[in-house]
């Protein structure tokens, strides 16, 4: 376990986000939740593609929170744990679909060396997704990676959390 780097706010909230250090910046937190809700619930890209990208990122960055969460929208689309078990190193040799493999190839390049995304991968992505969907995918991976790194960098997380389902993020009501 990485030691906590900052003190979480004193609160009785049962909401793990509101009880986390992120609540030390409440305006930022609300704006982030609106952004994340927009990504997940007002997007053009299917939930399954985003969830596969999110899980690949979570396992690469090794964020215990992100690895454990499953969003319900992707489950409703039919994304099973069996499929997610293939979202690991060696996925190239799995029976994931060509569309799913295009997502994973993009995520791996994004995390390792985004300047090296070349012509072959660009053509592969454009064969499966519209330009607007690709912008959403790029923004999604940026946010997934960012959130995972925030969690890791601020520390205080257990080494492992059981896999559990959560509602797909929505935009919080504005006060």
């Amino acid at each position: 376990m990485i030691a906590p780097r900052v003190k979480a706010p004193a609160t009785q909230s049962a909401d793990p986000i509101q009880a986390s250090p992120l609540a030390l910046q409440p305006e930022l937190l609300q704006a982030f939740l609106r952004l994340y809700g927009t990504l997940w619930s007002h997007g053009e890209l299917d939930q399954t593609s985003k969830e596969i990208a999110r899980i690949r990122n979570a396992r690469t960055i090794d964020c215990p929170i992100c690895k454990a969460i499953r969003f319900s929208g992707a489950r409703r689309e039919g994304l099973s744990e069996d499929v997610l078990d293939r979202v690991r190193d060696g996925w190239e040799h799995s029976d994931l679909t060509a569309r799913q493999k295009a997502v994973l190839r993009y995520v791996d390049c994004f995390l390792a060396s985004p300047v090296e995304i070349g012509g072959d991968l660009r053509r592969e992505l454009l064969a499966h997704f519209t330009p607007a969907q690709l912008v959403e995918l790029a923004a999604a991976v940026a946010l997934f990676m960012g959130f995972s790194k925030i969690a890791v960098a601020l520390g205080g997380l257990p080494d492992s959390i059981p896999v559990h389902e959560q509602p797909t993020p929505i935009c919080p009501a504005t006060s």
């Binding site: 250090p21 910046q25 305006e27 982030f32 927009t38 607007a132 912008v135 790029a138 923004a139 960012g146």
Partner: protein
């Protein structure tokens, strides 16, 4: 310009906005979030700008290297210090807080699990708990959206 097929650009339109604007509601929500670091001055804008540019350098992201944040310029960040950024470890142009934040930012990009307790403690000592949270969230945006620009090949602002 990006490899994505885009509508014909309006003259002088910012290339990042042109690409991200393909997902307009997402871009607006992103802008609302990412502008808070600067407009609310959650961290010294000169420190933030140095970290933003250093991250863009590390990732070879041309667009974010080509822009300057007005709040940092108004706070007095000069181009000669930006020019020394790639050699911040040996340059005398950077103070203790800037060095602590740049060290943390570089490790954040390379491997967040490699951030040591000492790296983090130096930032917390300089920025406080709430400031550190804002700083780390800003790094996430700088890192993620530098990669966004590199992966979509978004070039310099004219």
């Amino acid at each position: 310009m990006s490899w994505l097929p885009l509508p014909a650009p309006a003259t002088g339109r910012d290339p990042f906005e042109q690409v991200f604007g393909l997902r307009e509601n997402l871009f607006e929500a992103w802008r609302d979030f990412s502008s808070l670091f600067w407009t609310r001055r959650l961290v010294d804008p000169r420190v933030l700008e140095l970290c933003r540019l250093r991250i863009a350098q590390m990732l070879g992201a041309r667009y974010p290297q080509s822009v300057r944040t007005p709040e940092a310029q108004r706070a007095g960040l000069r181009e000669d210090r930006i020019a020394a950024l790639a050699s911040w470890r040996t340059s005398e142009a950077f103070g203790k807080t800037e060095r602590a934040c740049l060290r943390f930012a570089e490790q954040f990009v390379l491997d967040a699990r490699g951030i040591t307790d000492a790296d983090a403690a130096a930032v917390v000592a300089a920025l406080g708990d709430a400031g550190t949270v804002a700083f780390v969230e800003a790094l996430a945006i700088f890192d993620g959206f530098s990669r966004f620009c590199s992966s979509l090949d978004i070039g310099e602002r004219a």
